[in-house]
């Protein structure tokens, strides 16, 4: 990479040549037995793969970037890297300001604790001063529209309530950079509208938003940039409408490919049956 020329633009996120590598040998619940087996067999050499490679982009204040792509393209990994949860294997990443990153809203709640306790706990995990959290508590509860359930353990909540509370916490903390992963599809129609308004508000307050979504309507209507990821690489980046078009075209093509594959398998199976019948 050539040394970066810093433009006077006040950027919120700067990503250069980002790569994230997973070592499959280390991931997924190892036991000593599997480790020994791996050491003994040494099969398949290095089981490593790149979840993301050569990703570069820069987001200035006020921009909201939609990351789209098929399943397994590395969208969620990208958000995790931006949030600082996963460390990049290569490349440079610079996110300025406070980040809010309840990526899968409500998934990290403590089931045994009440909603109120979880608000305080989430705030503490996010590194927000508890006095600030005490001030915000009521507005978080009001926005999430949980009612009396706020003093009941989270395990009694419906998934919608959990997601609403998660969204409410993630967005109440005035983040400079908001990272959202497939969260706008949660909740009822009313809450969906409310959350759209909230996201737009945050984006309008000259703060950056990166969101992963499958809702193409959202991408074209509310994001001012879009990025298409496929197999961990940036395939296209630019105006939302064009990127969405490319994505739709790509997914139609891969769908056609999959169907062709399916037909081939079916044809082979049918042929096998015929051979079997002929032999008899």
């Amino acid at each position: 990479m050539p040394p970066h020329v810093l433009t006077p633009v006040n950027y919120a996120i700067d990503v250069q040549g980002l790569g994230v590598q997973y070592n499959l040998r280390l991931t997924k619940k190892n036991t000593l037995r599997t480790t020994f087996q791996n050491i003994l067999k040494r099969e398949g050499g290095d089981k490593k793969f790149w979840a993301l490679r050569d990703v570069s982009f820069r987001l200035v204040h006020g921009e909201s970037l939609a990351v789209i792509g098929p399943n397994g393209a590395g969208k969620s990994t990208l958000l995790q890297v931006l949030a600082g949860i996963i460390y990049p294997s290569e490349g440079v990443i610079d996110v300025r300001g406070q980040i809010s990153s309840l990526l899968q809203l409500g998934a990290g709640f403590d089931q045994e604790l009440t909603g109120r306790d979880n608000i305080m706990l989430a705030g503490a995990f996010l590194g927000i001063d508890h006095r600030v959290m005490l001030d915000k508590q009521q507005s978080i509860i009001d926005f999430a529209d949980i009612g009396d359930f706020i003093d009941a353990p989270i395990k009694t909540y419906s998934s919608g309530m959990r997601a609403r509370l998660g969204f409410s916490i993630a967005t109440a903390v005035d983040p400079d950079v908001l990272l959202l992963d497939e969260v706008l599809a949660t909740g009822d129609q009313v809450f969906r509208e409310k959350s759209k308004q909230r996201v737009l508000e945050i984006a309008a307050n000259a703060k950056a938003v990166v969101l992963v979504t499958h809702d193409m309507h959202w991408v074209t209507e509310f994001c001012n940039r879009a990025m298409l990821l496929e197999k961990g690489r940036v395939v296209m980046e630019g105006a939302p409408a064009e990127v969405v078009e490319a994505h739709v075209e790509h997914s139609a093509r891969s769908k056609a490919e999959r169907e062709a594959e399916l037909q081939a398998i079916a044809a082979r199976a049918a042929a096998a049956v015929r051979v079997k019948a002929g032999a008899r």
């Binding site: 899968q104 990290g108 706990l121 995990f125 590194g127 790509h250």
Partner: protein, 293 residues
């Protein structure tokens, strides 16, 4: 369909490997900055343990008593090993040992049990085993209720002001437990059989420590196999049990006495060193937690 050229960048900057001093300093500042979070986590832990069952924290009082009864039956009835005031003798080992095993058990799942959270929020993971170990102190503290009851009801002659010395001895144990907690909490992320192994390893550890028996009963081993004795004395719980027993129980016929401070101080030094090492291990492993979980 690739619109991007695959011109490979000449150099790929990698995250620099950070030195031990930097990591240790980072760990210290993380713990001091996230005091509030640790406090919440400890509170949540205690709240959950109390709310789990109908009797709540009563179990922390009853549990060591029941365990004591099991050992009393085992040792003084079945094995017929005479030891004056055996219930108190054994209780002085059960209390710290229960504290240690429950803290280790909690530490094992402290990180791996929070997998969802770790994947969605960036926070210093070291707060998790720190909080679980600190919450474990309550287990020890509650154990003093049955201990005091035992002393007041049956062993009034063994009550002494020296009982207060359990606090410095407990601090030594806390340092060792914290260090051990960091190690197992990080290891269990990568190898899930730590929990299974630990159950048996801890039981063996207890039997190898002078908990059920007095260290003096090992005198014959000390004479015939001095190296084995030396190894047994390296066990932190050799020193800890002997010290607790000195201040809670005392001698066979005499009351509590001041424990030998030299092995305790050596153990404290060794535990602090161990803590530095396991903190480093934890900090090195931390960066891959979110990927592995």
């Amino acid at each position: 369909m690739q619109t991007q050229t695959t011109a490979v960048a000449p150099s790929r900057p990698r995250a620099p490997q950070r030195g031990p001093v930097v990591l240790l300093r980072e760990a210290a500042s993380e713990i001091s900055q996230r005091r509030q979070l640790i406090k919440y986590l400890v509170q949540a832990d205690l709240k959950k343990k109390g709310a789990d069952s109908l009797l709540g924290n009563i179990w922390w009082v009853v549990d060591p008593l029941l365990q004591m009864m099991v050992y009393v039956v085992l040792v003084s009835v079945i094995l017929a090993r005479p030891q004056p005031d055996y219930p108190l003798f054994i209780f002085s080992a059960i209390l710290p040992w229960k504290w240690f095993t429950s803290s280790v058990g909690d530490a094992i799942t402290a990180v791996s049990g929070q997998d969802k959270l770790i994947k969605q929020i960036k926070f210093p993971k070291i707060v998790l085993p720190t909080a679980s170990t600190l919450a474990g102190i309550a287990n020890f503290a509650f154990g003093f209720i049955p201990l005091m009851a035992l002393l007041l009801l049956f062993y009034r002659d063994r009550i002494s002001i020296l009982l207060l010395l359990v606090i410095p001895i407990g601090i030594v144990q806390l340092v060792f437990t914290m260090a051990f907690g960091y190690l197992v909490s990080a290891t269990n992320v990568f190898y899930r059989d730590v929990a299974n192994v630990s159950r048996h390893a801890l039981r063996m550890w207890f039997y190898l420590s002078p908990g059920l028996y007095a260290a003096s009963s090992l005198d014959t081993i000390a004479k015939t196999h001095p190296t084995i004795m030396k190894l047994m004395e390296l066990n932190p719980f050799f020193t800890l049990f002997e010290s607790y027993r000195a201040v809670i129980y005392g001698g066979d016929t005499s009351g509590p006495f001041v424990p030998n401070f030299i092995p305790l101080l050596i153990l404290l030094g060794a535990s602090l060193l161990f803590l530095l090492v396991t903190t480093l291990v934890f900090k090195r492993a931390e960066t891959s937690f979110a990927k592995v979980l």
